[in-house]
């Protein structure tokens, strides 16, 4: 594969930087202070990189990330003291311990959202600190634990620590880079941008969040083992220190959270601050003041961090040419289409759906069926429960009563992602693309099923990305593939969201007002796409207020009013149905039997 010039330059810069860091302790072998500062900088790279996976990619901020340092350190120190093995050999077990704690904790807290997560991570840190203090028989309590001095020749001094920690720092960058370009990474960013939408496109959010938490903890645990041996002494206050968490957050935030290099840049910026504060101020107060003010300033004035801010400034300077939309045909795989002379089998059946909001019965005793291969219109006055019905069918909302069956299988108790895996795709009335992801990332994000190998699948190249490009070609948005989705026009977003739904290889697509707020040319374009997909056997339900479009596109049409389906039939029949006229125009119109002019 050919690497473009900019990529070659970047690779060369990384290699050069790595080489310089590797040569440094050999060239300045007597500068022990400098080496230990670098070891701490590497440690901070590992910790900030880990934090960034959870907070930057997934959007869950932790204030207790330094707990994993302590967990790794104590695990390795205790094992080493009891087994008599070298701590460096045992360091990976520190990572295992951190991963186990993260998995257990993650599994318990993953039903909650961001502020609850912050609170839990603070509690976790102090809980472990208190445990380390109180379980004195095991941990030595506030006296701490002393590890044996390194066994190697005194001439090489800090070198093993330097290279071990440097290697971990490099590994953490590779870990972030790799996660970001897999389907797992795309799913994590989707959760950060819009967690409910992520579930609708098949992302099994709890599993993703747990994985992300584990991935953010494991290297910190390993580093904790190495660091404990480097210090040769650990105690609860030093190892479960919330100020270390502050430095982690500050580093990642300053460099740019959600980026690969942000934590690295930030760590190397924060370490000098730490050293300066330590040397100038003997008083702990000044150090706290410095970090408090620095963190506050970054949150208030540089919330995106250095790298994204510079990147935004750069892209503003470079005027981009706006490409034109362009289409290519597409084949969607569907089970054998309906036989012409027999009625198509039932695909979706809703029976007695109910949903209340407070005292309002938004949907009540709503029943309907959708036949395979049909293009059903769902119309009704505002507030009649159309979107709520969509939400109940796709699992965005839970039903208070009633059942939904897809192909005979009950799905009304399944979480949204499982319904997506079974073949339900949907678009939203107000599009819900992930605004800070590019168009192609948006389309790659959906998951057709949950499997471990699939999580590691490459989202940037390979079959997934190729399929996404095909879909973008089909809706005509391929020229915009690398634009952030948030910059598109509303109509273009609708096209991309349709491509996103198609990525699920759905059997049934629910479109919520595809033509709402879109210019007429685009409406015709969308209608054409829908017809084409339908010809290939895909089934649709369309909520729409544009009556000429519905009457032209859909057959049959369902009419909702007051939270239930009041009429069903061909466009011609619906236009004459007295109940429909009553629903739209008020009591009495139906009896007068006038024809609605549409």
């Amino acid at each position: 594969m050919r690497v473009p010039a900019a990529g070659r330059l970047r690779l060369a810069a990384i290699a050069l930087g790595g080489l310089a860091l590797a040569a440094y302790p050999l060239l300045r072998s007597d500068d022990l202070y400098g080496q230990s500062v670098m070891i701490f900088a590497f440690l901070l790279v590992v910790m900030a990189g880990g934090w960034n996976i959870m907070a930057g990619f997934t959007g869950y901020v932790s204030l207790g990330q330094s707990a994993f340092l302590g967990i790794g350190a104590y695990t390795v120190a205790l094992l080493s003291l009891h087994l008599g093995l070298n701590p460096l050999l045992l360091a990976p077990l520190g990572g295992v311990a951190a991963a186990v704690v993260a998995a257990v904790l993650g599994a318990t807290v993953m039903r909650t959202r961001e502020h609850a997560f912050v609170i839990i991570t603070i509690a976790l840190l102090f809980l472990f600190q208190t445990l380390a203090l109180n379980l004195a028989g095991l941990t030595g309590g506030s006296d701490g634990l002393t590890l044996p001095l390194p066994t190697w020749d005194r001439d090489i001094q800090n070198l093993p620590f330097y290279y071990a920690m440097g290697g971990l720092a490099a590994l953490s960058v590779v870990e972030s880079w790799w996660i970001r370009r897999t389907k797992l990474g795309t799913g994590l960013v989707a959760i950060r941008e819009d967690e409910d939408k992520a579930a609708v496109i098949g992302v099994r959010t709890p599993a993703y969040k747990v994985l992300s938490f584990v991935a953010s903890a494991v290297l910190i645990g390993v580093a904790g083992g190495v660091y404990a041996y480097f210090l040769t002494f650990i105690d609860p206050r030093g190892m479960f220190d919330i100020l270390v968490s502050v430095q982690i957050v500050l580093a990642a935030l300053l460099g740019g959270r959600g980026t690969i290099w942000g934590p690295v840049l930030g760590a190397f910026a924060v370490v000098p601050l730490n050293e300066a504060a330590n040397s100038i101020a003997a008083a702990e107060g000044l150090r706290l003041l410095a970090f408090g003010l620095a963190l506050g300033a970054v949150v208030l004035f540089l919330p995106l961090g250095a790298i994204p801010t510079v990147r935004a400034w750069w892209s503003r300077r470079q005027r981009r040419q706006v490409p034109a939309e362009r289409r290519r045909p597409l084949t969607v795989t569907q089970p054998a289409g309906p036989e012409p002379d027999r009625p198509a089998p039932m695909l979706l059946a809703a029976d007695g759906l109910a949903r209340r909001f407070g005292g309002v019965n938004a949907v009540d005793a709503c029943s309907f069926t959708i036949r395979q291969g049909s293009l059903t219109g769902l119309i009704g006055p505002n507030g009649s429960g159309k979107t709520t019905t969509f939400n109940l069918v796709t699992g965005v909302l839970r039903c208070d009563g009633g059942t939904v069956r897809l192909d005979g299988r009950r799905i009304d108790r399944l979480p949204p992602w499982e319904r997506a895996h079974l073949g339900l795709g949907r678009t939203f009335q107000i599009t819900r693309l992930f605004p800070r992801m590019t168009v192609v990332e948006n389309v790659v994000a959906p998951l057709r099923r949950f499997s471990w190998p699939n999580l590691a699948a490459d989202a940037v190249s390979g079959p997934e990305a190729r399929r996404a490009t095909e879909l973008l070609d089909f809706v005509g948005m391929a020229p915009f593939a690398d634009h952030p989705a948030g910059q598109l026009s509303f109509g273009q977003q609708k096209l991309v969201e349709l491509a996103q739904a198609l990525m699920l290889e759905p059997r049934l697509v629910l479109l919520d007002e595809p033509a709402g707020g879109v210019n007429p040319g685009m409406v015709e374009h969308l209608a054409e796409l829908i017809r084409e997909l339908r010809r290939q056997g895909l089934t649709f339900i369309v909520v729409e207020h544009n009556m000429p479009l519905v009457l032209d596109l859909c057959d049959p049409i369902l009419v909702m009013a007051g939270g239930r389906v009041i009429a069903e039939g061909s466009p011609a029949a619906i236009q004459r149905d007295p109940a429909v006229l009553d629903a739209y125009l008020g009591e009495g119109w139906g009896k007068a039997s006038r024809r609605v002019e549409v």
Binding site: V118, I119, L124, T130, L300, R398
Partner: protein, 293 residues
């Protein structure tokens, strides 16, 4: 038996003080969706101010409530206007980080001003008690609990009997709705934040008699308070009151029958357990943000 009753009584007395402290935290969360993790630092600051007033002017710590409460109210107002208002619309996580930055800044200032030494106010009644049969009621704890109840009562009247209070409650139930019916959201937010911080004034003064405080003890206090509001259900003031009494008693029982060293673990375990089993707590519904259409 007497011993157990005595422990529960002491737990309830301290629970009353916790209730006041937690009320401010949960009120701010309910209206503004801000987890004010600086509440512990502000509390310790108020306690140290009380200590200073007592040392310099001999002002009784309970009487100091009338000074510290308005002072902390003003500080809260300033903090809101200068910092919090700038990131009102930012994600919850960013406001938490800002409040945390504030907490360690205050900790740093306190460390420079009062040094890292335990401080406590020791008025003459500090080691006296009321007696009722075999039971005793330490005067400091009784006065503290009574003060807390009086301030809470005033807060209750403010929230239920005044237009301002109604505006605050409306904003906590439905921010957009209350804006539509004419509530000045920004004014209400600043006021709520200032009231929330003001509770640390009264609370800190009471605390200065009951506990020795030093700058870094704010972590312990914010842990206690978060435990209480999580148990009560974040955003719910009645929930916070119930949570405070329950955890006050639980802490006293643990300290008496297990060990004082394990007493604080009660709060951490409660946070983890509640968020696992019943994320909405006793009364609230905010913490578990089930999807809405």
């Amino acid at each position: 038996m007497t011993h157990a009753v005595q422990t529960v009584i002491l737990g309830l007395l301290i629970g009353g003080v916790y209730a006041l402290l937690a009320a401010g935290l949960t009120l701010v969360f309910g209206v503004m969706n801000i987890v004010n993790v600086a509440q512990g630092a502000l509390l310790v600051l108020a306690a140290l101010l009380t200590f200073e007033l007592w040392r310099r002017f001999g002002l009784d710590p309970i009487a100091a409530v009338v000074v510290t409460t308005p002072a902390m109210f003003a500080l809260g107002w300033v903090i809101y206007r200068l910092f919090v208002a700038r990131i009102r619309t930012a994600p919850v996580s960013m406001t938490v980080l800002l409040m945390f930055a504030l907490a360690i800044t205050i900790e740093g200032v306190m460390g420079l001003t009062w040094k890292n030494v335990f401080r406590s106010v020791t008025p003459s009644y500090g080691n006296q008690s009321f007696h009722l049969g075999p039971l005793f009621f330490p005067k400091a704890q009784v006065y503290g609990c009574v003060t807390a109840v009086v301030v809470l009562g005033a807060l209750y009247l403010l929230l239920t009997r005044t237009w301002t209070g109604r505006a605050i409650r409306a904003a906590s139930e439905n921010l957009q709705g209350s804006e539509l019916v004419g509530v000045n959201i920004r004014g209400v937010a600043a006021l709520t934040f200032a009231i929330g911080v003001a509770t640390t004034g009264a609370g800190g003064s009471v605390l200065s008699v009951l506990y020795a405080v030093f700058p870094a003890s704010h972590y312990l206090w914010i842990s206690r308070l978060l435990g209480i509001v999580v148990l009560g259900g974040m955003g719910s003031v009645p929930g916070a009151l119930a949570g405070a009494l329950i955890l006050g008693v639980a802490e006293a029982l643990t300290a008496t029958y297990v060990s004082t060293r394990w007493a604080v673990v009660v709060f951490y375990v409660v946070i983890l357990a509640v968020l696992l089993v019943r994320p909405q707590g006793l009364a609230g519904s905010k913490l578990r943000e089930d999807v809405a259409g």
